[in-house]
C-alpha cells in the first residue's frame, strides 16, 4: 500500500488550494492509488491556538478515518505545547504532529523541540518536520521564510534518537548530505521524495550510493500534483526495487509508522 507522508488540508493565504476538503483529498488519493495519507492542516502552522486547529482537522477528516491519518499542529515554543500534545493524542486521536520551524519561528534543535520529540517518542507518535512549504523564490515579498537548515535537522536527530522523524521536502542535496554525515544514526528517520526531482538522476544517484531504505513517498498535495513524485519514481534511472521500497515498504520497517497505518487501514 502506498502511504503519503506529506499531505495537507486547509487554507493557504496566497491562493485557493485546489482541494478543499477530505473528500477531495481521498478522490485524488484514489486517482493515484494511495491507500492512506498522513494529513496536517496547513493553516495550523500559523494558528495561535493549535488545539483549535487540531480539532478542526479531526472534524474535517472524521468521515475518512480509514484513509486519512490526522497529523496535528503544535508550537514548540509555546508554554502550552505539552498539554496540546496530550490533548491531541488522547482526545483528538492524532497520529503525530507536523512542525514548520522556520514558519513558526523556533529553531529545530532547540530544547523545546527536543522535549517535544522525546514526548512523541514515548507516545509512539512520529514528528513530521517540513523543511519548507513554498519555494523561497516564489514566496510573498512580505513573507519570506528560509528552509530549515541541515545543521538544525542533524542537531534534532542527534538529540532525539528515539523519535520517529519524517522529514518533508528535503532536496537530494540535503538528503545526501544528511546520509553522508558522520556520527549520526538515521534508523528512526525517513525522508519524503517529493522535492527530490532535481537534478535529473539525482534521486537515482542517491539510491545508488545510500540505498533507498530511508525514503518514503510524500506528495505535498494539494500544493503539488501527487502524480509528480510517482512519475519521478518511474523514471528509467530509478531502480524498480528502490521505487517499490519507497512507495510501499520502507515505512513498514518502523514499528511506529506501521502501527499507525495498520490501525486505520485494517479497520
Amino acid at each position: 500500500m502506498i502511504v503519503d507522508f506529506g499531505a495537507y488540508l486547509g487554507n493557504w493565504p496566497l491562493y485557493p488550494l485546489p482541494i478543499r476538503d477530505a473528500a477531495g483529498l481521498v478522490g485524488v488519493m484514489d486517482r493515484c492509488g494511495i491507500g492512506a495519507a498522513f494529513v496536517s492542516l496547513v493553516d495550523g502552522a500559523f494558528s495561535l491556538n493549535p488545539r483549535d486547529a487540531n480539532e478542526r482537522l479531526k472534524s474535517m477528516v472524521a468521515e475518512h478515518a480509514a484513509r486519512v491519518l490526522p497529523v496535528g499542529s503544535v508550537d514548540a515554543s509555546s508554554p502550552c505545547w505539552r498539554e496540546d500534545v496530550v490533548a491531541g493524542i488522547e482526545q483528538v486521536g492524532l497520529a503525530g504532529f507536523r512542525i514548520h520551524p522556520t514558519y513558526q519561528g523556533f529553531a529545530l534543535d532547540s530544547n523545546g523541540v527536543v522535549a517535544l520529540a522525546d514526548t512523541l517518542a514515548m507516545a509512539h507518535r512520529p514528528l513530521f518536520v517540513a523543511s519548507f512549504i513554498d519555494e523561497e523564490r516564489f514566496q510573498h515579498p512580505a513573507f519570506r521564510v528560509p528552509p530549515v537548515s541541515l545543521d538544525q535537522i542533524a542537531g534534532l536527530i542527534r538529540r532525539a534518537p528515539e523519535t520517529t522523524i519524517v522529514l518533508n521536502n528535503l532536496t537530494v542535496e540535503q538528503a545526501t548530505a544528511l546520509l553522508d554525515m558522520p556520527g549520526i544514526s538515521l534508523s528512526n528517520v525517513f525522508m519524503d521524495v517529493n522535492a527530490m526531482d532535481k537534478p535529473f538522476s539525482g534521486l537515482a544517484q542517491l539510491i545508488q550510493h545510500h540505498g533507498s531504505d530511508r525514503l518514503v513517498y510524500g506528495s505535498q498535495v494539494p500544493f503539488l500534483y501527487p502524480e509528480a513524485p510517482l512519475a519521478l519514481l518511474q523514471e528509467s534511472t530509478v531502480p524498480d526495487d528502490g521505487a517499490k521500497a519507497i512507495l510501499e515498504q520502507n515505512w513498514r520497517t518502523s514499528e511506529v509508522l506501521r502501527g499507525l497505518v495498520e490501525s486505520v487501514s485494517l479497520t
Binding site: K198, P226, A228, A231, S236
Partner: protein
C-alpha cells in the same frame, strides 16, 4: 478500495499512454557529460519523440557568458543534433550583449535541427535596459523562428539580467509578429500567466519549478490550451515528473495532446496538422 498488495502501487498509476508521443521543447545538455546518454534514454522511455535542447552555458550557468562559452554550448547542442537526427533539435543560445550575437544566430540557425532561439539571463545591458533583446527578436521575426525566453517573477528581486513576465509582455507588445515563449510559467505561475495573458504572441511552457497543483489548469483557463507547451527543464529537472503535471491536470484530453505535442509541432516545426 484500498490497494494492499505490494505490486498494486506501481500497477495503479502509470504515465498515461495518451501523453505519448511528446515534444519536450525545453531541456538542456547536462554539465556532467557522462549523464548525456542516460538523459536522452530517459527522455525516449517516457515517450518523448522530439527533444529540443538549448545550452545555458557549456561549463556552468554563467549569467553573462563570453562568446567562447556561447559557441561551445551551441556546438555541443549541434553535435547532439547530428548524433541523434530526428530526435534531438536545438535552440540557439545567445548572450545578446555580445557584439557577435547576430553572427552566432546566423551561423547556427543555418544548421539543420536548430528550430529557434533561447534567451536566458543576460538580457539587460549595463544600465538595466532591455535594448539588447530587441535585435534578437527582430532577427527571430526575420527568420520566422520562436524565441524561448527565461522570464521569472522571483521573490526578493530578479537576477541582474533576468527578464520578468512584465518585461516579456512589453517585448510582446512592441513586436506583435514575434513568437515568444515564456519559460517556467513565468516563475510565480499565477502572476506570470496573468502578465502575458493579453498577448496572443506569447506562449508559455510548464518546465522547471515544482509540480504546482492547479498550475496547468490555470494556464489553460487563462491562456487557452493552444498557448501552453510541455517542457521539462531537464537536466535540472525530471522529464517524467514534469510530464506528470500534464497527466494530473484536470483538463480535456485533447488539451493535453495540444500541450505535449500539437502546439510545439506547430510552433517549432511548422506542422499545422496535429499528430
Amino acid at each position: 478500495m484500498v490497494p494492499t498488495r505490494c505490486s498494486d502501487a506501481l500497477d495503479r498509476w502509470r504515465m498515461p499512454a495518451y501523453l505519448t508521443p511528446a515534444i519536450d521543447m525545453h531541456a538542456h545538455p547536462p554539465y556532467d557529460r557522462s549523464q548525456t546518454g542516460l538523459m536522452l534514454d530517459a527522455a525516449r522511455r517516457v515517450g518523448i519523440e522530439r527533444l529540443i535542447l538549448c545550452s545555458v552555458g557549456y561549463s556552468d550557468t554563467i549569467p553573462y557568458p563570453p562568446i567562447e562559452e556561447v559557441r561551445r554550448g551551441n556546438d555541443e547542442v549541434l553535435s547532439l543534433i547530428r548524433s541523434h537526427p530526428g530526435f534531438v533539435y536545438g535552440l540557439v543560445y545567445v548572450n545578446p550583449n555580445l557584439p557577435e550575437t547576430r553572427d552566432v544566430l546566423g551561423h547556427y540557425l543555418q544548421q539543420p535541427g536548430f528550430v529557434g532561439i533561447k534567451l536566458w539571463i543576460s538580457c539587460r545591458d549595463e544600465r538595466g535596459r532591455l535594448d539588447p533583446v530587441y535585435p534578437v527578436v527582430e532577427f527571430a521575426i526575420d527568420r520566422n523562428v520562436p524565441v524561448l525566453c527565461h522570464a521569472f517573477y522571483r521573490s526578493g528581486g530578479n537576477l541582474p539580467g533576468e527578464l520578468s513576465p512584465t518585461d516579456l509582455a512589453h517585448v510582446a507588445a512592441c513586436y506583435p509578429q514575434a513568437k515568444l515563449v515564456m519559460a517556467h510559467l513565468g516563475g510565480q505561475w499565477i502572476q506570470g500567466i496573468r502578465a502575458v495573458k493579453p498577448y496572443p504572441n506569447v506562449w508559455t511552457d510548464i518546465s522547471g519549478s515544482r509540480a504546482y497543483m492547479g498550475s496547468v489548469e490555470f494556464a489553460v483557463k487563462e491562456l487557452g490550451a493552444d498557448r501552453v507547451l510541455y517542457g521539462s527543464d531537464a537536466f535540472m529537472r525530471s522529464f517524467a515528473a514534469m510530464l506528470a503535471k500534464v497527466a494530473a491536470a484536470e483538463i480535456d484530453l485533447s488539451d493535453k495532446r495540444r500541450i505535449v505535442w500539437d502546439n510545439s509541432a506547430a510552433l517549432f516545426f511548422g506542422e499545422g496538422v496535429p499528430k
